[in-house]
């Protein structure tokens, strides 16, 4: 076998074994989605595990009712979208039971009652809603806080800025970009107790009930089990124990972190395992995507320079669509849009969706420069090869492609680096790669500067290594 054939076989084997692993991991009866950062209801603790009221309740209920589940931590928005797209069986994420949501979801009996409060920076001059006039208020999309904020926006005349996770929203208020935020009381109060430098300055508004949700008309059995289990753990005291554990203790008790571990290196060594996992996911995504995108790009490039009109037309269209679409839109489209369209419980694992997204987007870019590289080879080369009697594909493979690929090498290196960085965008569909790992760690310890610095350094190191490797390959080829 030739070298490239070996490479293709290895690549397929890697993907194949990965599929095998996924299939194995999905033996649980239900997939239940939760939010990533909504302490004390759900948050990640040291070592990548999730904890919180929702998580513990679900665990206790599952134990009582003897069902198994796989937990999937996504942003709240993604979790809700996936439930309506039938990608997951249920969502437990501190979700308010509202009439609007009851149109698409069936809710369990309420398991917690809470209200919305306004929080401002510690040194803020904002005392009440009237002080918000002309100022900006931070809201988290899809939450009760957001609904409440929107409902009083006209009355008090403030501007609204939306965020996808709580921590980024708090930070925006902390650094003064926004003057206030609206958040569920237990969440806000827990966060403040654990170091968020904000203060609550309103009473609870629009008290609402939290419920566990399934898609309307689906999973009635799961809902029934949840209700029965909830009643059971309320009766035997487990419920109150869980609530007390989270609402009346500091985070350090739960996560085992100490104040002395808040230095840069302390944080680093403490989160080494989690960061390593995230980094590995980033590398895995990058390598597989680079291989697939390169194959797609070569195919598009070859199609693009084919004689006749059909090949180039197909190539330009595919490049036009996938190069023109923002990576994030494409990721959402594949992960949430396609299963929604197909229905029948069709699911795409996030990793596969992410891989396809990167393959299409980076493949389109690769296709564009591969096509350009082939076109940059003097037309006389093809003519000379054909004149010797070589058929088109043979002439392409033996004469035009080797020369074109040499022209493309710098573009390939560039594209590999871009692919590595673009994996970070896939955090939006819940893939816990390096960037999402950072978000999760910060959601727990609020050390934004140190953790993002850590993440940035890791990216730079990897990109430096990748650049060295590419340069070495380039020297070998030339």
């Amino acid at each position: 076998m030739k070298k490239w054939q070996v490479a293709v076989v290895l690549c397929l084997a890697a993907i194949g074994s990965w599929f095998g692993l996924t299939a194995h991991a999905q033996a649980a009866e239900y997939t239940i989605a939760t939010d990533t950062t909504f302490a004390p209801f759900e948050f990640q603790v040291k070592g990548g595990q999730y904890k919180g009221i929702d998580i513990d309740l679900l665990k206790a209920i599952a134990k009582k009712e003897h069902f198994t589940y796989q937990l999937k931590a996504l942003s709240f928005n993604a979790a809700v979208q996936q439930l309506s797209a039938n990608q997951v069986d249920g969502v437990i994420a501190g979700m308010n039971i509202t009439p609007a949501r009851e149109v698409t979801f069936d809710f369990s009996k309420p398991y917690y009652t809470s209200g919305v409060v306004m929080a401002v920076a510690k040194d803020s001059t904002v005392k009440n809603f009237n002080d918000l006039k002309g100022k900006t208020v931070a809201l988290k999309t899809g939450t009760a806080g957001a609904a409440y904020g929107k409902s009083i926006q006209n009355k008090y005349g403030f501007k609204i800025k939306y965020f996808n996770d709580s921590n980024t929203m708090y930070n925006d208020v902390k650094v003064g970009n926004s003057s206030a935020c609206f958040e569920d009381y237990p969440v806000m109060s827990y966060g403040i107790k654990n170091g968020i430098p904000l203060k609550i300055i309103s009473k609870q508004h629009n008290a609402g009930d939290y419920g566990f949700a399934v898609k309307k008309g689906k999973n009635a059995a799961l809902l029934k089990k949840f209700n029965a289990g909830l009643a059971a753990i309320k009766a035997d005291g487990t419920y109150q124990k869980i609530i007390n554990k989270y609402l009346h203790s500091k985070e350090s008790k739960i996560t085992g972190e100490t104040a002395s571990s808040r230095t840069f290196f302390g944080l680093f060594s403490q989160n080494l395992g989690t960061l390593g996992k995230g980094l590995w996911m980033t590398i895995e995504l990058t390598v597989i995507s680079i291989i697939l995108a390169t194959l797609l790009g070569l195919l598009l490039g070859v199609l693009g320079v084919m004689p006749g009109k059909i090949g180039p037309a197909i190539s330009s269209t595919i490049i036009y669509i996938f190069r023109g679409m923002p990576l994030m839109v494409l990721a959402f489209f594949i992960y949430i849009g396609i299963p929604d369209l197909i229905g029948h419980g069709f699911k795409i694992p996030a990793f596969i969706a992410g891989m396809i997204t990167l393959m299409l987007n980076e493949g389109a870019y690769t296709g564009a420069f591969v096509k350009g590289g082939f076109q940059a080879v003097d037309a006389g080369q093809m003519e000379a090869a054909r004149s010797l009697g070589l058929p088109y594909w043979k002439a392409m493979r033996k004469v035009v492609m080797p020369q074109g690929i040499r022209i493309m090498i710098p573009s390939f290196i560039n594209q590999f680096i871009i692919t590595l960085k673009d994996t970070s965008i896939l955090s939006v569909i819940g893939i816990v790669e390096l960037t999402q790992t950072g978000t999760l760690i910060i959601a727990r310890n609020f050390e934004g500067f140190k953790i993002w610095l850590m993440i940035a350094i890791i990216y730079l190191i990897i990109i430096t290594l990748l650049t060295w490797l590419s340069n070495w390959v380039q020297r070998r080829i030339n």
Partner: protein, 248 residues
């Protein structure tokens, strides 16, 4: 396929690019072992004509039969036709990603299923023939224009073509390189190769050609033995052309 006396038969050949007609109805027959030189002002359609013979340009109208293959017949395998034609370009078009030997052996190995050892033996003989035995492992970029063109001729000969087409083979060369290339071509002619040469080298045409064809504005205006063409030109365009060329 029998070795017919007529190697090339061209009838009423037209070629247009959009509204511009470059070839306006050419007729030409080339016999076995014949050397035909095509002369004429730039833009008269000489190169286009030559490129039509190997289907690098597709005629708008007309018939071409070369080595017994009818190019206008859809069933004709163009790759097979080209295997039997040696084409030499103005700019050599050597493959820069391969050395001299690889350039020459590529087609025999790929198409004639020749073993690399045998192909290399043939290639070295050919290099010897064109006077470049010592350049076997050189890269094309390390060679002068004249050397590159001689390699290109060797590359074309490696497929044992039944006819050689030369498209202004010396036009891109420095004057002192021209002689070596023409010498190789003269030797080929003496060995009995059928050749069509588009050229501006009047001396070569006079000395080597069995027939000289003068083209102007997409048509053959005059054709005949070198002596007749150069010493007794009939067509006023040819007289004009020769005056200009000789007075340069």
């Amino acid at each position: 396929m029998a070795d017919t006396a007529i190697k090339v038969h061209v009838q009423d050949l037209h070629k247009s690019y959009g509204n511009t007609e470059v070839l306006k109805g050419l007729n030409l027959d080339v016999k076995n072992n014949e050397v035909v030189c095509m002369i004429g002002p730039s833009g008269s359609g000489k190169s286009t004509f030559l490129r039509c013979l190997t289907d690098l340009e597709v005629p708008s109208k007309g018939q071409i039969v070369i080595n017994g293959y009818d190019l206008s017949d859809a069933k004709t395998n163009i790759d097979l036709v080209r295997e039997n034609i040696g084409m030499v370009f103005q700019h050599f078009n050597l493959f820069p990603n391969m050395n001299v030997l690889q350039n020459i052996t590529l087609a025999p190995i790929q198409l004639k299923k020749m073993t690399p050892a045998k192909a290399e033996k043939t290639a070295r003989d050919l290099l010897d023939q064109v006077g470049l035995a010592d350049k076997a492992t050189a890269l094309p970029t390390a060679l002068s224009g004249g050397q590159q063109q001689r390699v290109a001729i060797a590359r074309a000969l490696a497929m044992h073509p039944k006819i050689m087409l030369f498209d202004e083979p010396t036009s891109a060369l420095d004057p002192e390189m021209v002689g070596d290339v023409l010498d190789v071509m003269k030797q080929l002619a003496r060995d009995g190769m059928t050749m069509i040469v588009v050229t501006h080298e009047m001396g070569f045409a006079k000395e080597v050609a069995d027939r000289v064809v003068f083209m102007a504005d997409g048509l053959i205006r005059e054709s005949g033995a070198p002596k007749d063409i150069f010493e007794h030109p009939q067509n006023p365009r040819l007289q004009d052309f020769l005056n200009k060329v000789i007075n340069v």
